[in-house]
């Protein structure tokens, strides 16, 4: 099995597209980083931070005095005021310039690109063998079809995780070089108490939750790619569903069935910061269960179709 994965890895890196993906991934981190740095240096100093905080308190108090405020808005302004007061009392300036942490929470949005590239790989790793006819060479070997397909699936995920690693490492390096560790403290209000924000664990949690969409999209593209042997169909369909997924859920939200569609659940970041699903009564464990069932279903269909198929390419 290791040798099969080694083979897939070798084939993957002999394709120019793979290098282009990595290059683009690095570029979308470098370029915005450079632009942000450029604007940061241009912006002038606006006096001491204490003055800024005092101004902020006054503004927020003015807002609170307004009528017709919703409960949520009131709570928000009160939180902001208590954070500013805490800063003044404890001599804890806010994060004014960029820091490696803030840069990395910005670049974590590039995970969408990682998912896209992994989907492209998943869609073509099986279908390209069919379209070039090399599948005949690959399957007339003393390796069962199940092993061949497993090696391709694992290679796709290893490649995906490699791209995530590129994203994390490159943003960390670029962030450190351009912005440094930063000075200042991120604060938030937890249960009425002002506390230091756990920036790093929040970020790690965000990466973890992004895994939901990453895994489901990859498995779906892999399924379509290996069943229909067309990478364009697989990429197209996966992208179409991820763009229109929200609309489909909205449309179906009146019916109970919406709870049992994977699209409702694949974006796990909806549970971040104590959020909840837009569909009532849906919790994170429920979402995870539905996703797991769909993942197994996708895999069963991929494997049966690949193993039963008569190869005529």
């Amino acid at each position: 099995m290791l040798k099969l994965i080694q083979n897939e890895w070798m084939k993957l890196w002999h394709k120019k597209g793979t290098w282009a993906m990595v290059a683009m991934l690095i570029l979308v981190i470098l370029v915005p980083g450079g632009i942000m740095k450029y604007y940061e240096e241009k912006s002038s100093d606006e006096g001491s931070w204490q003055k800024v905080e005092q101004q902020a308190i006054q503004n927020n108090k003015a807002m609170l005095a307004e009528e017709d405020l919703s409960e949520a808005d009131k709570a928000y302004f009160k939180e902001q005021i208590s954070i500013s007061e805490y800063r003044l009392a404890n001599d804890a300036p806010s994060q004014k310039d960029g820091s490696v942490a803030s840069f990395m929470s910005f670049t974590s949005s590039m995970l969408t690109l990682v998912t896209l590239f992994t989907v492209i790989t998943a869609a073509s790793i099986v279908s390209s063998e069919f379209s070039t006819g090399t599948i005949k060479m690959l399957l007339t070997r003393p390796m069962s079809r199940a092993k061949v397909l497993t090696s391709k699936l694992l290679t796709t995920f290893i490649f995906g995780l490699f791209l995530v690693a590129v994203n994390v490492v490159v943003s960390a390096i670029v962030g450190l070089v351009l912005f440094g560790v930063g000075s200042g403290v991120e604060l938030e209000v937890v249960n009425g108490q002002v506390a230091e924000k756990a920036v790093w664990s929040d970020l790690a949690y965000h990466y973890l939750l992004s895994g939901g969409d990453f895994v489901m999209s990859t498995l779906f593209a892999f399924l379509i790619g290996s069943v229909f042997r067309s990478s364009s169909l697989a990429i197209g369909l996966t992208m179409f569903l991820s763009f229109t997924g929200g609309m489909i859920i909205m449309f179906l939200s009146r019916y109970d069935i919406v709870k049992y569609i994977w699209l409702t659940h694949s974006d796990l970041t909806q549970y971040e910061h104590g959020g909840s699903s837009m569909i009532a009564d849906v919790t994170m464990p429920f979402s995870l269960t539905v996703l797991a069932i769909y993942a197994i279903l996708f895999l069963i269909i991929s494997y049966t179709s690949f193993m039963k198929r008569d190869v005529t390419a």
Partner: protein, 306 residues
């Protein structure tokens, strides 16, 4: 006779109600090169795909060295080297990387073995170049190399000389003969090039409409034929009918099924009857004649066109 290395037992394939292959029974022996002939659409490629595990038979079995291909796939296929139609390689990699790729899928194929095979097929000078830059003939050589890497006991080749130049075809033929003789490899070759099969094979199997219609040794044809040209033709045919010979008209004379020892008697008879004798010569029926005779011309298999 030695044990067959490959046995097809009642092999059948039905796709959407069409019987592409019906009850095929063929035995292949070590050290023997068997040709596989048939008109277009007869089911050659389907049979070969079933023998290599690319297609699953509807009925029947493929047994390789005593193991059923369906039940013990990995073990059975490890004894087989395959070139199905054009050897499609990974064009974006070098020839060497392609071989390395396939070598990793077999047990016990060392780097030395790869070098050895590369040398055997004569690709040493270009092996580290990308396959995309290879000519068709070079790709065929690379295809042969990947099929030989693991020293198979049984080699299946579908249209192997397609795209080779005459020197390449000759070399290829000699090479197949050599591995059949020296390593006792059983070779199964499908081809449209009848003359090629004739030169290369010890035996031919002919299929048509998915059925095996004949399987025979090539070089020891028991019956002999002579071509006799004499005038007037009517008298000759009357004379031959009278003597109870099997014959048929060809060009200006007749092809007669005749033993060598009967030749003097026949010619004497013709001359004594006052006929003008122009030529008497041994007649070699080519494989092409035999093939067309057996398959009844070039009709595409009916079962497929319906």
């Amino acid at each position: 006779m030695t044990e067959p290395i490959v046995q097809l037992q009642n092999l059948s394939k039905t796709i959407r109600g069409k019987q592409l292959i019906q009850q095929l029974n063929i035995d292949l022996y070590p050290g023997q090169i068997t040709g596989f002939l048939g008109p277009n659409g007869a089911g050659k490629t389907t049979t070969i795909r079933m023998m290599t595990g690319l297609m699953h038979p509807t009925e029947g079995k493929v047994i390789i060295d005593g193991l059923s291909l369906q039940e013990h796939y990995e073990e059975a296929i490890s004894k087989v080297g395959v070139i199905v139609e054009n050897p499609e390689m990974y064009k974006f990699m070098s020839g060497y990387k392609n071989l390395l790729h396939f070598a990793r899928m077999h047990k016990n194929v060392t780097k030395e073995r790869i070098q050895e095979v590369v040398k055997q097929v004569g690709l040493e000078n270009r092996i580290h170049e990308k396959v995309a830059t290879y000519s068709l003939g070079m790709r065929q050589r690379l295809g042969l190399a990947q099929a030989l890497l693991h020293r198979p006991k049984f080699l299946i080749l579908d249209e192997p000389t397609n795209g080779l130049d005459p020197a390449g075809i000759r070399e290829f033929r000699m090479y197949l003969r050599k591995i059949a003789a020296e390593d006792n490899v059983s070779v199964f070759v499908s081809s449209h090039l009848l003359s090629e099969i004739e030169l290369m094979c010890d035996r031919v199997a002919v299929i048509q409409n998915g059925k095996l219609i004949d399987i025979r040794e090539i070089h020891n044809d028991s019956s002999s034929f002579y071509y006799v040209e004499a005038q007037p033709k009517e008298q000759v045919s009357a004379h031959l009918t009278q003597l109870d010979y099997k014959f048929e008209a060809e060009n200006q004379g007749y092809v007669i099924e005749l033993k060598k020892e009967d030749v003097p008697a026949l010619t004497a008879g013709l001359v004594q009857a006052g006929m003008q004798l122009f030529a008497v010569q041994p007649h070699q029926k080519t494989l092409e004649d035999q093939f067309l005779e057996m398959t009844g011309g070039g009709q595409i298999a009916e079962a497929n066109s319906k």
